[in-house]
């Protein structure tokens, strides 16, 4: 009987420990004066650099980042995630949030532009620069782009192929990646012959060869947008951070990471 009681007591104690553990873990992710910034994963490095600089300029400010695909970040905000600032890879997602009332009452700002780059696998037979029409060549069997259904880079790539009137002839060669970095990795390992990725991705790749880049404005404009959310209005650093990113100092950092001001 005593053993039974001890067993029950142990069970009760362990339950108590688990519940208290959960309580400590459930503490709010963001405390006062901390700014939670949700940013597209293609902005990871540059956002960390921007955040460091902002914290130096604004004593007391503490930035917390949440990195994921722009679409996932949008869903999180719609479900009440405590985000103060949203930096996305496509204005489309912010337009939806704006319409649903999740953003502060002010137009969101363009923080940077990116380009689309054509990269080919190591050892692909091409000399020097070549325009996107290269994709029509019979040597190119597989072309990777992000899945246009949900990857902004893929939507831009598809739009580019349509604008260049290449889409009909290469449609069967296309392979969709779940994110733009995956498309780049396939090119690096030779799974595909070519891929259309962001110019910033092509810059950091050591294996995939950059063949050509689209111009920042035409035929497809790729802009990164940043906005204060409805919740972020009450945070004294929300507005300030957006202003900093779009300032000359912010643009300088963005340029350093290959983005275009």
């Amino acid at each position: 009987m005593v053993i039974k009681k001890i067993k029950l007591l142990l069970l009760f104690l362990s339950l108590l420990i688990i519940i208290s553990c959960l309580f400590t873990l459930a503490k709010e992710p963001v405390v006062k004066d901390e700014l939670l910034v949700s940013a597209a994963s293609s902005l990871t490095d540059v956002m960390v650099a921007l955040g460091k600089e902002f914290e130096t300029l604004n004593p007391g400010a503490k930035l917390i980042f949440n990195f994921a695909a722009t679409g996932a970040l949008q869903t999180q905000i719609e479900q009440g995630a405590p985000v103060d600032v949203f930096a996305g890879a496509s204005p489309a997602n912010l337009k939806v949030l704006k319409r649903k009332g999740f953003l502060a009452d002010e137009p969101f700002k363009i923080m940077a532009y990116n380009t689309l780059a054509l990269v080919v696998r190591p050892g692909f037979p091409v000399n020097g620069e070549s325009p996107f029409i290269l994709l029509k060549k019979p040597e190119v069997n597989r072309i990777a782009i992000g899945d246009p259904a949900y990857v902004p880079a893929g939507q831009y790539a598809l739009e580019l192929l349509i604008q260049l009137k290449l889409i009909e002839s290469i449609r069967t060669k296309l392979i969709f990646a779940t994110n733009v970095r995956e498309a780049l990795t396939w090119t690096e390992t030779g799974e595909v012959d070519a891929a259309i990725v962001y110019g910033t991705d092509a810059l950091i790749s050591q294996k995939a060869r950059l063949i050509t880049q689209s111009s920042p404005e035409a035929p497809v404009e790729i802009s990164y947008v940043i906005a204060v959310t409805r919740q972020g209005k009450t945070n004294r650093f929300g507005r300030k951070f957006v202003d900093f990113v779009t300032s000359t100092a912010g643009k300088k950092i963005l340029t350093r990471f290959g983005f275009l001001p």
Partner: protein, 228 residues
Amino acid sequence: MNGVPISTIYAPAALSLEIALIATILALITGGGLAWFFSGRRSLIATIFEGIITLPLVLPPVVLGFYLLLTLGQTGGVGQFITRILKVNLIFTPAAAVIAATVAALPIMYKAVKAFLEVVDPEVIKAAQLDGASRFKVLIFMEIPLAARGVFTGILLSFLRALGEFGATLMVAGNIPGRTQTLSLAIWGSVMGGDLVRAHILTAVLAGICLLVVFSMRFFDMERKSSV
């Protein structure tokens, strides 16, 4: 690029271990309990319940995360209830990661424990009950010792599944370095950011933990064999 700060390795590793540990204990209580309850039951309702418990095993983790987000978020019933009672928003907390990992590990724990429970001969249990043993006594002195192997296998597999959880965690807990970024999320983040050195180091840490678990399993097996 050159030089990876130790804190960016240590923080996700410690968080991953903590989350996986708590998730395993929670999965053991819920999954083990459910397995015990459903073992030997063959009714239609039991089968339907079993199907629901198994769902996280077949759903893509991101889909699982999406539905968890709908449930735990501020538009979901559970999320609103928790916010009202505890005054916290679960989304973007390590607790949300624990819940995601628990749900992901639950079917594995359930299956492992149930498989071993059902090996126990029902005739033997009936005999014990005829001799006056209560349902509780049968559980403590017969089923649990006989199913210990299943529980142990369940614990290890659930722990590894919880450790590797990615998709659902990303949706409900976010990918916040130093707060909710687990090893799996940190590896993904490093690959996305092109920091392959850090990705390799983090992968080595994760692989090291897995090897440790697998070896401890082997050790346990040998202990058992020598004691029998």
